[in-house]
């Protein structure tokens, strides 16, 4: 026989304490649900694959200082050396690194003209070894051939006529059917034509926070510039031993330049999401701390109200309540307070989320998360009240006659 009605009526006569705890629960619910939501959002961003074989790739910078230097010949020598090194799968020169935070972008459009809409895409300038070196998957069309590769002078504004795009870019250009992009001619720099000869499954842009992060384009260019990057893929497990070896070999072969800033793709990913990780740690701490504080708040209120009602509890025992019935009283009381708090918390959580959606362009919260918040707080409440309730149940029935 649950005495819910009596508990509610007794609670209504002691509203303040209960209401304060209910509000604390509501606030906790509002904050933890949204914090967890933000954590999950970041985590799912971090889980996105870049399309690159990150485990087995690294890159370095090549800075030329020698005078009368034959840039084209030197690059060819370097690439030949690298590609022949045991343990190296392939190597390319590249203008930007996925996830690194710095790179090139341009606008692509299906109709020529300044007034037509263009779609932003990351530009990777590479040769026909790019797909193999980066570890990309070509899902339609074909790779560049060696003869497609052109030399690009610094400051050059014209583009080669063939490109390979990611599926995401193809879909943005041809929303009805990404496959129809293959073979199509589209426009870059408003009116220069380029033909899509291949489509990649995935290759992320250098900027992880950009909403177009999946839109990238390979352009068959080798750069004739004094600063460039070389990107190397090794056989599985050989990256760490090859990195110093590659650095040494390149530096010794050609003393007219400096090899530097070797970095693996894994490290690049880690740096790329450093802030995400830090923010998630802070949010996790907030969630845990807030939950614990609320738990202690419940313990505190329960102990206070039990101490205040010692004689009443003794009287209930004298009137025939079993220990379990006393325990249950406080557990049901806590449940009622929690339910009120959680209901307010649901409204709060959804409102805060709606504000976040509007202000920061986040996705709306999902029902599972709300249910998770509800369950968590119900469990926390019941666990928190367990010890005080147990203490109450051990109050002697003799308290009824022994206290004034």
């Amino acid at each position: 026989m649950l005495e819910t009605g009596l508990i509610i009526r007794a609670l209504m006569r002691n509203k303040i304490g209960a209401l304060l705890i209910a509000l604390q629960i509501a606030l906790t619910m509002t904050i933890i649900v949204n914090a967890i939501f933000m954590i999950q959002d970041r985590q799912s961003q971090m889980l996105r694959v870049s399309g690159v074989d990150e485990e087995n790739t690294f890159y370095l910078t090549n800075t030329i200082f020698g005078q009368d230097y034959n840039i084209q010949a030197a690059l060819q020598t370097d690439l030949n050396t690298l590609r022949k090194m045991p343990g190296v799968v392939d190597a390319i020169q590249i203008n930007a690194i996925p996830l690194s935070g710095g790179g090139w972008s341009s606008g692509v459009q299906t109709e020529a003209g300044e007034d037509k809409d263009s779609i932003g895409t990351a530009i990777y300038m590479v040769d026909d070894h790019a797909i193999n070196t980066l570890g990309l998957e070509l899902i339609a069309g074909e790779n560049f051939s060696a003869t497609d590769i052109q030399w690009r002078k610094s400051g050059q504004s014209t583009w080669p006529d063939k490109v390979i795009v990611t599926k995401a870019l193809a879909l943005s250009l041809f929303p009805d059917d990404w496959q129809s992009a293959l073979g199509k001619t589209v426009f870059i720099s408003q009116n220069q034509t380029i033909q899509i000869i291949g489509i990649l499954k995935q290759l992320q842009a250098p900027w992880n926070g950009w909403d177009g992060v999946e839109r990238s384009m390979l352009v068959p260019f080798q750069m004739e510039s004094k600063g460039s990057r070389l990107f190397i893929r090794t056989e599985p497990g050989k990256r760490d031993q090859l990195m110093p070896l590659v650095e040494k070999t390149l530096a010794e072969n050609d003393k007219g330049r400096i090899i530097g800033r070797l970095r693996s793709m894994e490290e690049t990913r880690e740096r790329s999401y450093q802030r995400h990780n830090a923010t998630n740690k802070i949010l996790t701490t907030v969630v845990i701390t807030l939950t614990i504080i609320t738990g202690f708040g419940i313990v505190g209120l329960a102990i206070f109200s039990i101490n205040r009602r010692t004689k009443q509890i003794g009287t209930r025992r004298a009137l025939g309540a079993t220990r379990w019935q006393i325990m249950r009283y406080f557990m049901v009381e806590n449940l009622l307070i929690s339910v009120v708090g959680i209901l307010i918390g649901c409204v709060g959580a959804v409102s805060l989320n709606m504000w976040l959606v509007k202000t920061f362009n986040l996705a709306p919260i999902n029902i599972e998360l709300i249910l998770f918040g509800v369950t968590t707080l119900l469990i926390v409440g019941q666990l928190a009240v367990l010890y005080p309730a147990r203490k109450a149940s051990l109050i002697s029935p003799a308290t009824a006659t022994r206290t004034v």
């Binding site: 007794a10 009824a400 006659t401």
Partner: protein
């Protein structure tokens, strides 16, 4: 029927032992109205608490309504309190947050009666103590005498065989005390066995049987006096 044989109760605190009851012997028969008197600290409340199963005893034998109390666990004692014993306290012990109706409802809930049965019993017993019209009032809105009447209604609502009262008139002025006493006498006439602790000699004399507790023992049985009294009243 209540039988206590050689009951003793020792309170053990950090360094002192208090022998609140020693070799306490008492038999209370069905339908009795027993007054318990004695000086303060003599063990009256301890006796009543043990009789009402609010407290356990240290040694001896105690049978209540045929049940060997020493063999009951806490749940068994709770059940017995709920089913067979009604308690009345010096300071009424009504639950301040509940109105009169809900106060009387408390032991009925523990008993597990359905809502209809509870309502019937609450109304009947509040009627019996003359407070049916104030069901929605809170205890704080009543006088002491009225509060004690509600407490009596609450004690009676479960139809107990025993009504135990610890100084039920201790916090009341003499007029109210007399009326509460009359109410108890009525209840006793309808068959409920009553054991009442009181330090009011005049009230004690109104009951058919009086015992005196001295230093944790039943020191004197006052049956004759009680019989005389009854005759005088008659």
């Amino acid at each position: 029927m209540l039988i206590m044989k050689n009951i003793s109760k020792v309170f053990q605190t950090a360094d002192i032992q208090t022998h609140a009851l020693r070799d306490f012997n008492l038999t209370v028969n069905e339908g009795d109205f027993v007054s318990v008197t004695g000086p303060s600290g003599s063990g009256k409340t301890t006796f009543l608490n043990i009789a009402g199963l609010l407290e356990t005893y240290t040694s001896g034998e105690f049978t209540l309504d045929g049940e060997n109390i020493g063999q009951l666990n806490d749940n068994g004692r709770s059940r017995m309190r709920n089913h067979k014993i009604g308690f009345i306290f010096q300071s009424f012990n009504l639950i301040p947050d509940l109105n009169l109706f809900d106060n009387v409802d408390v032991p009925l809930r523990y008993r597990g009666f359905n809502a209809k049965e509870r309502k019937r019993r609450i109304e009947e017993n509040l009627e019996r103590v003359g407070l049916a019209s104030r069901m929605k009032h809170l205890p704080s809105q009543l006088s002491g005498g009225q509060q004690q009447r509600v407490a009596i209604a609450r004690a009676l609502a479960t139809d107990p065989r025993f009504l135990l009262a610890d100084e039920p008139t201790g916090n009341l002025d003499s007029e109210m005390a007399q009326s509460v006493m009359s109410l108890l006498e009525d209840i006793n006439k309808q068959g409920t066995t009553i054991v009442m602790v009181t330090h009011d000699a005049q009230l004690a004399q109104r009951s058919p049987r009086t015992i005196q507790v001295m230093d944790g023992r039943v020191s004197e049985l006052n049956l004759h006096l009680a019989t005389d009294n009854q005759q005088a009243i008659a």
